[in-house]
Amino acid sequence: MAIDTKFIGKTWPDLSYDVCKEKIREYAKAIKNQDPHFVDEAFAKKSKYGCIIAPPTFCVVFGGALIEPIFFDNELNLNLMMLVHGEQEFEFFEVVKDRDTITSTAKITDVVNKEKLDVLTVEVLSRNQHGRNVCKGIYTFVVRK
């Protein structure tokens, strides 16, 4: 069944995430990125950021956590067996630092019904404890019919 376009604009409750250097280290290891900004505390303290920072794509950890409730939303009722991640776009604003608290908001910004598939676009906007944007992620999913 096609995804109803009435879901454009649907939002989910904000999600708050406390960043810590150990999670940054774990994520950096997973993407094989040992940049000292992410893993070397002595280097990071002397850097222009003054502390450990997260790799830009770490935003999938705090922002991506909002994707799961969308996937399992009863009303939206996505066919996960037929869903693939089609496209991804990130815009990075302020860097994410160790001990930041990030709050993310998710919204469906587009639903396109095609003959053999539907395209679902979700925008996740993340802000730090100062109220400043750190990342906007645009996740595009394709659901084959």
Partner: protein, 130 residues
């Protein structure tokens, strides 16, 4: 490390998708979709085994750019279309080129291929502080 970015500059990076990469990434990202961690499930749905998370491969792409700039904070935009699954033991090559520099920003085109030359991601673009 790129101190001054000029049009036409190129760079390249390579990553090998080792046997347990998708397991590491699942743990770090929280994405435990069975297509990434369960070879039997991957075979059942026609993928021939597990496939790497697209966002992990995009993480490799981001690394190629931030290694090149030397400052992770200079990456301002990144986008791609996931064209074909990345498999375990693939070798991913990222070839970057500066398309234009203006207004303090540089636009990069990135070609992301596996060992047979096939593009695993398409329309891959990044923007960095110049």
């Amino acid at each position: 490390m790129a101190d001054k970015i000029t049009k036409g500059t190129t760079f390249q990076a390579q990553e090998v998708v080792d046997k347990y990469r998708a397991i590491y990434y699942a743990g770090a990202s929280g994405d435990f979709n069975p297509i990434h961690i369960d070879p039997e499930f991957g075979k059942m749905v026609g993928l021939g085994g597990v496939i790497l998370h697209g966002l992990c491969a995009l993480g490799f792409v981001a690394k190629s750019v931030t290694d090149w700039t030397g400052d992770p904070g200079r990456l301002k935009k990144l986008r791609c279309r996931f064209a074909t699954p990345v498999h375990i033991e693939d070798t991913i090559t990222v070839a970057g080129e500066v398309l234009e520099v203006s207004g303090g920003r540089a636009v990069l085109n990135l070609k992301v291929t596996r060992q047979n030359g096939e593009e695993v991601e398409k329309n891959v673009m990044a923007e960095v502080e110049a």
